[in-house]
């Protein structure tokens, strides 16, 4: 329920340095499922029991509110998150931007109905990381990139900040709409905790070393390679590849269109003034020429608006889904790694003689983990496809509507010219047969 803007707290860097003593024990047991418990308190109890994905969802009261649904209806939406009001903060060490994050909710697990906090980009990164660690085979909506490499976009440039703000807003809303993520404790803390509270909560998370451990594991797994990947996941892989290519192409095409439009605008800018110049040498023709000049100027403005809209609305969506495609590939890789671990243990059991009981236990856990990961991925994949379809459909419809509106406005401009010429002709006693 904190509302104040805290601006003199120095945020630590991306990784928390301190390693709490209670975690050190876990470094040895990285394959245990218990580590999941630490990250997402609400749902981990349901997820670690290894039973099927859907059944486990019903046991926890918290999760009952967020039943796994294939479709999110607007009517049933009970949490609304807004990101706005970027502000610049200057400290001795750095300058950074914070955004206001406002939450309105009727969910019972929240202490209140309204929250307002200030968050910076790092905080969003942290949240994303936590969600990914807790649910390696669920698809987390991408964050806007750290910085734009193309062109010289300054971090504190107004357009950049606005684009980022919109993307952050979308990110949080996607999280809120996700049946599993929205009930994440980290998410709740992100939305409600004061800056200091958040900082200390961040420090509780798995330390740098444990994260390193995960990465090492992943690399090792990648080297080993998965042996019997089920066909459906191979299909998903192929889809992810193809989708990535197509959406990247669309992104590039749209950017090219914008470039061409801007060059067209450069030339169009000269039209109106040229007609105006001409009108100054004429008598009878002065009026229609000035009229045409006015029309060209108005069309110029409309074209400018059109380009801006394309840039502000279609490009960000395409861009998001380019990043999504990468996320899909990453999720599939993580799933593969979990399978590799399982396969490794199965092999170990088959070959080693000693400690069979302990190993069998481990194997069971690995198998459960794999099964859970696979089911989670399959369900989320379907959910993601529906969301993708809806998002892209909306974006394309919006673009088409905007184009129609653009042409309608230009049409009105030229028709008013025609009208003026007709009334002129009637006024002068001439009747044009055109």
């Amino acid at each position: 329920m904190s509302r104040s803007v805290v601006d003199n707290t120095v945020s630590s860097g991306n990784s928390s340095v301190a390693i709490p003593t209670d975690i050190s024990g876990q470094i040895l047991d990285l394959d245990e499922d218990d580590d999941l418990e630490v990250f997402s308190k609400d749902t981990s109890t349901t997820l670690t029991d290894g039973s099927s994905f859907n059944a486990s969802m019903q046991t926890s009261p918290a999760s009952m509110i967020n039943q796994y649904k294939l479709e999110e209806d607007a009517d049933t939406k009970d949490i609304f998150v807004t990101v706005d009001n970027p502000e610049s903060h200057v400290t001795a060490i750095e300058t950074y931007i914070t955004y206001r994050v406002e939450t309105k909710t009727t969910r019972s697990e929240f202490d209140s109905c309204e929250f307002e906090v200030r968050r910076r980009y790092q905080d969003f990164l942290w949240l994303k990381g936590r969600l990914e660690e807790a649910h390696p085979t669920l698809i987390v909506h991408p964050l806007p990139e750290k910085f734009v490499m193309k062109g010289m976009v300054e971090r504190f440039n107004e357009d950049f900040i606005e684009t980022r703000r919109r993307a952050l807003h979308k990110f949080l809303n996607k999280i809120a709409e996700h049946p599993i993520f929205s009930s994440s404790e980290d998410f709740k803390i992100f939305l409600t905790a004061g800056t200091g509270e958040l900082t200390s909560h961040k420090k509780q998370g798995p330390g740098f070393l444990s994260r390193m451990g995960e990465t090492v594991k992943a690399v090792a797994a990648a080297v080993r390679g998965v042996r019997n990947r089920p066909q459906e996941f191979t299909d998903m892989q192929e889809y992810a590849e193809a989708f990535s290519q197509k959406i990247s192409s669309l992104d590039k095409i749209t950017q090219r269109i914008i470039r061409e439009q801007k060059e067209y605008l450069e030339e169009l800018k000269e039209c109106g003034p040229t007609y105006t110049l001409w009108s100054q040498s004429e008598e009878e023709l002065a009026e229609p020429l000035k009229n045409v000049a006015g029309c060209e100027d108005r069309c110029y403005k409309e074209t400018e608006e059109q380009v801006k809209h394309l840039n502000d609305h279609l490009i960000p969506v395409l861009h998001e889904y380019v990043l999504c495609a990468d996320t899909l590939k990453a999720v599939l890789r993580r799933r593969d790694n979990i399978q590799v671990v399982f396969e490794g243990k199965a092999e170990a059991l088959a070959t080693k003689a000693a400690d069979r009981d302990a190993m069998r236990d481990e194997l069971d856990k690995a198998e459960n983990r794999l099964e859970w990961a696979n089911n989670a991925l399959k369900s989320d994949w379907i959910r993601w496809q529906k969301v993708m379809r809806s998002d892209l459909r909306s974006a394309f419809i919006d673009t088409a509507e905007r184009n129609v509106s653009y042409y309608e406005k230009c049409l009105a401009v030229w028709e008013s010219f025609m009208q003026s010429q007709r009334t002129d002709a009637e006024g002068n006693g001439k009747v044009d047969s055109s």
Partner: protein, 434 residues
């Protein structure tokens, strides 16, 4: 259809007439001044063909010839549809005709020819004279030229023009026989006059200035439009890539496939629609170009006025100087500095007989001079009167034509907007089905 190789003079009018009667008809038609030729006959430039032949330096060359067809206006009403008379002409022959008209009627604003070489092109149009689109546009321009001349109150009754339309062989010789080339003013003479004329008619000075402005602004407009057309072409064509990618993408999707595929078709249609749009754009450019070249013709009339005025001024100055010399000789007073005066001071006065002789010569010269001034004055007045009538006629024609051109430009824009609305509405419908 082509009447090539025919030695006969092509006849107009009733083909039932005897040759001698037709001859009379021809003569009557030509003699009647102020008759609009177009009221008598239909003229068209129906076709263009490539020919190869030997040129003046006996080298092979390829050139284009144009088929001029003429037909009596009342032919259709007789129920028969007689084959039109026709002959082939090259562009250079059109040029010869126009040069003849320019020299013979320097007080008229002579209609211009379409451009010799393609200028103000944008990238899609080639600047090649052999390009079929260029040839076609030139054909239309040549027809327009003939119709303009044929509908001019004075030019339409010119014999050389008439035989250009009707006499295939020997026409060139006939033109040269008029000796018009000798009457042409040298550029140097004209330029000299422009700089030295003291009292040109204000109206002509203003007209010349207007001609300069018109030429400058239309050139600018044509350049701007050519560049804008180039850019617009790019914008439309890039949309074609959407079609391709949507099609490829639809192959990997299940529910979205159909919507994407059909939307893709509309994107292709959108990309293709720019070709028609720009063809109409070309037509508008041609209308502007005609007046660009007309501006030149207008300036030519003004320059001729300056020359005529200058010659009058020269004759007047000459007369004045001669009169002054006579006075000096008669009174013995030397008013102005002259070499004669100097030498007579140095070498002594002339004898009375010498003076007598000189005076007599001067008197003759003065009489001749007076005649010259009277002549030139009459020429000048005549010129100013006729030219001004034609300039007024031209002004009205220009105002009317350019206004029509602007209207047709607006119509073109309207058509383009309507096409855009249709395509994007269609695309929107397809997107909705995604």
């Amino acid at each position: 259809m082509a009447d090539s190789g025919s030695e006969d003079i092509a006849v107009i009018g009733n083909t039932d007439l005897t040759p001698s009667e037709s001859e009379n008809n021809l003569k009557n038609t030509m003699v009647e001044k102020g008759t609009n030729l177009l009221k008598m006959m239909e003229i068209s430039v129906a076709e263009a063909e490539k020919r190869t032949g030997k040129n003046a330096v006996n080298m092979q060359e390829t050139y284009t010839v144009y088929l001029i067809e003429t037909r009596p206006v009342d032919a259709a009403s007789e129920g028969t549809n007689p084959v039109p008379d026709s002959l082939w002409r090259r562009y250079s022959e059109f040029e010869l005709l126009r040069n003849y008209l320019l020299v013979t009627y320097p007080f008229l604003v002579v209609p211009p020819l379409p451009e010799k070489r393609a200028e103000f092109v944008w990238h899609k149009l080639s600047a090649d004279n052999m390009d079929p689109d260029f040839v076609e546009r030139r054909r239309v321009g040549l027809e327009n030229f003939l119709l303009r001349v044929a509908s001019h109150p004075d030019l339409s009754s010119d014999n050389i023009f008439y035989s250009f339309l009707t006499e295939e062989n020997g026409w060139k010789e006939t033109v040269f026989e008029t000796g018009f080339q000798a009457k042409a003013d040298s550029r140097l003479k004209a330029l000299n006059a422009t700089f030295r004329v003291k009292n040109p008619d204000k109206r002509f000075a203003e007209m010349k200035h207007y001609g300069d402005e018109l030429q400058s602004v239309i050139s600018q407009l044509l350049r701007v439009r050519a560049r804008a057309a180039d850019r617009l072409y790019g914008v439309y064509k890039v949309h074609g890539n959407y079609g391709r990618v949507f099609s490829e993408w639809s192959a990997i999707e299940k529910e979205m496939g159909d919507g994407l595929q059909s939307a893709g078709h509309h994107m292709d249609a959108y990309a293709a629609s720019v070709d028609d749009i720009l063809e109409e754009e070309e037509h508008y450019a041609d209308q502007l170009k005609e007046y660009l070249f007309y501006a030149d013709a207008l300036r030519a009339v003004c320059r001729k006025h300056e020359l005529t005025q200058y010659e009058l001024e020269m004759a007047t100055m000459d007369l004045t100087s001669k009169k002054q010399q006579r006075e000096e000789l008669a009174t013995g007073m030397i008013r102005t500095f002259s070499l004669k005066g100097m030498t007579s001071k140095l070498f002594g006065q002339e004898t009375p007989e010498q003076r007598e002789a000189k005076l007599k010569m001067l008197e003759t010269q003065i009489e001749e001079g007076k005649e010259m001034v009277k002549e030139r004055n009459a020429e000048c007045e005549e010129f100013v009167k006729s030219a001004w009538v034609d300039i007024e006629r031209f002004k009205e024609q220009k105002d009317h034509d350019l206004r029509e051109a602007l209207i047709s430009y607006a119509i073109m824009q309207i058509s383009m907007c309507k096409k855009g609305i249709q395509v994007w509405n269609n695309a929107k419908e397809c997107f909705s089905k995604m």
